[in-house]
């Protein structure tokens, strides 16, 4: 392909919240925030190491779906990370400061801050590049840190900021602004639907004290994904385990992962507090990649003494099948099905085999995308970018281009994406690339095939 055929997007139109920092003071403010973050975190150890070993060898370039599509050198992961590592070397290491003095290096400028802002939101934080880095750099972590520093000086995408504000200080206390009475109304609607479908009283129980599992889905599922929720309720009906939804707090989403560590911690506290209020034994996270990864990774860190264990619904359903508690009719789904690995499940190898065991137990015509599992391609809307509507053209045309090609190659009728983030993004990828494939959740299909 000649380079002229590549779609070049120089700037993505993201609406940022910019607190009133005078333009002249932005570089100073950036360095102050950077210094404060280094002082109050463990990032210095990581940066020290990365700044020493980063070789800019470019091995990561072939792994990045954004760079593969744009061909712009600033989209190469190590070039992007280099923006922040250069600032670190220049301002926060003794050698860097000395060299800067000897060579009269130029200071940090406004343009550098704009370049970092653009670069860190072109990255979907899928961490596919980590697989190939011979020096072990985690470019996703650098993106995360870069966004954190920017957000502390008031630069963060509006879509993320308003959602987190509603979640942490708003009336509803969740990212979609769903008040508890609306949740209850929705749950009784779903229970009616289940009754119509199966003739059974399948509950979506609320505020049950001492339940084995306290359930936190992506709260947007309560607006968009009735079948996923009913499928999960049906699985619990089959296993007979006790579970509950807490009306005090019922959102698994944690956008802190995407731009700010302080919010990440505050949101984890809310989840854990609700689990404790209900004397629940474990936290169960629904079909949502980043919600699962933040809970799994940070409840042990921020969850206080004896933090509750965290499991994901796919792990739960897989085990229920292994233990023979769940019967799925293998003759219901005849169409070809493929499975999209959410990066936040699969990159670490955490949830790769479980969904495949579930799928193979009742779906005959299952095809894989290549590559898949730990090496999967991002849906193109990772790292919180899916919530930024104005980025849609970038997300589906560039970030999601490889995924669209993969989807088309399967010839499948359905693509399963067990993640609220990937679901929204893949629906838009399918629309924008005019693909003949339908997006579906894993528990939607389970709902169709489950037998009692």
């Amino acid at each position: 392909m000649s380079s002229s055929m590549l779609p070049i997007v120089e700037n993505i139109p993201v609406k940022y919240f910019i607190e009133p920092v005078p333009p002249m003071d932005r570089p100073r403010r950036f360095l102050e925030v950077f210094a404060a973050v280094l002082k109050h975190s463990h990032y210095r150890y990581v940066l020290d190491h990365f700044a020493r070993v980063a070789a800019k060898c470019g091995m990561c370039a072939v792994e990045c779906p954004v760079y593969q599509t744009t061909g712009i050198t600033t989209d190469v992961p190590c070039a992007r990370s280099g923006l922040l590592l250069d600032v670190y070397r220049r301002h926060f290491t003794a050698e860097g400061r000395l060299m800067a003095r000897l060579t009269a290096a130029r200071p940090l400028e406004n343009a550098d801050i704009d370049a970092m802002t653009e670069a860190f939101y072109r990255c979907t934080a899928c961490r596919r590049c980590n697989l190939q880095c011979p020096m072990g750099l985690d470019h996703g972590l650098i993106t995360h840190l870069g966004r954190y520093i920017l957000s502390e000086m008031g630069i963060a995408p509006k879509a993320l900021v308003v959602s987190v504000r509603e979640q942490l200080v708003g009336k509803s206390g969740n990212t979609s602004g769903i008040p508890a009475p609306a949740l209850l109304d929705t749950l009784s609607f779903l229970e009616e639907d289940l009754k119509d479908k199966f003739g059974l009283d399948i509950k979506l129980p609320t505020d049950v004290e001492g339940a084995e599992y306290v359930f936190f889905p992506a709260v947007s599922d309560y607006l968009l994904e009735p079948d996923v929720l009913m499928g999960q309720a049906a699985v619990f009906h089959a296993t007979g385990d006790s579970w509950t939804i807490g009306t005090g707090y019922f959102d698994g989403i944690n956008y802190g992962l995407f731009y700010n560590d302080r919010f990440l911690e505050d949101i984890v506290h809310k989840e854990v507090a609700e689990c404790r209020r209900l004397k629940g034994k474990k936290m169960l996270i629904g079909e949502c990649g980043h919600a699962s990864r933040t809970a799994k990774g940070f409840v042990p860190t921020y969850g206080g003494e004896n933090p509750p264990p965290v499991i994901n619904i796919l792990e739960y359903t897989d085990r229920a099948i292994q233990e023979g508690k769940l019967k799925l009719n293998p003759d219901v789904i005849e169409d070809r099905v493929t499975y999209h690995d959410p990066c936040n499940y699969a990159r670490s190898g955490w949830i790769v085999e479980q969904p495949r065991r579930i799928i193979r137990s009742f779906i005959k015509d299952f095809v894989e995308m290549e590559p898949h599992g730990k090496e999967n391609y991002c849906c193109g809307g990772g790292g919180g970018t899916v919530s930024i509507d104005e980025m849609r053209g970038f997300r589906t045309g560039i970030g999601g281009k490889r995924k669209a090609e993969q989807l088309r190659a399967t010839g499948a009728k359905y693509v399963i994406a067990p993640c609220a983030n990937c679901k929204k993004q893949l629906k838009e990828v399918i629309e924008d690339h005019k693909l003949e494939i339908e997006l579906i959740g894993l528990h939607d299909l389970i709902l169709r095939a489950i037998e009692f």
């Binding site: 609406k15 969740n174 979609s176 009475p181 609306a182 109304d185 609607f189 709260v219 947007s220």
Partner: protein, 105 residues
Amino acid sequence: MAQLKVGDFSLDLDEDGFIQQPEKWDKNVALALAETEGVNELSEKHWKLVNYLREYYQKFGVAPMIRKVCKDTNMKLNEIYELFPSGPAKGACKVAGLPKPTGCV
């Protein structure tokens, strides 16, 4: 900030064209909002959907689940898209004077 002109007064709009003061909503505001969505006339079916969303929002403070909208108004999702091309959340809810949905929607 963008403004929506309705008769002789105007309302603040956010960048996505949603009204900022949901309590100021009335039928004329709905008509003006519909025009911004490229819907120049509101049929009985449009009003049925808009009024349903409005009533639900006033009772519960949020839009209902999309499946519930379809069931309660007896409309299919594609019919809603025919009425409001930007769909239930970003089209119909906007005209009904709801704020822009946040989070993963």
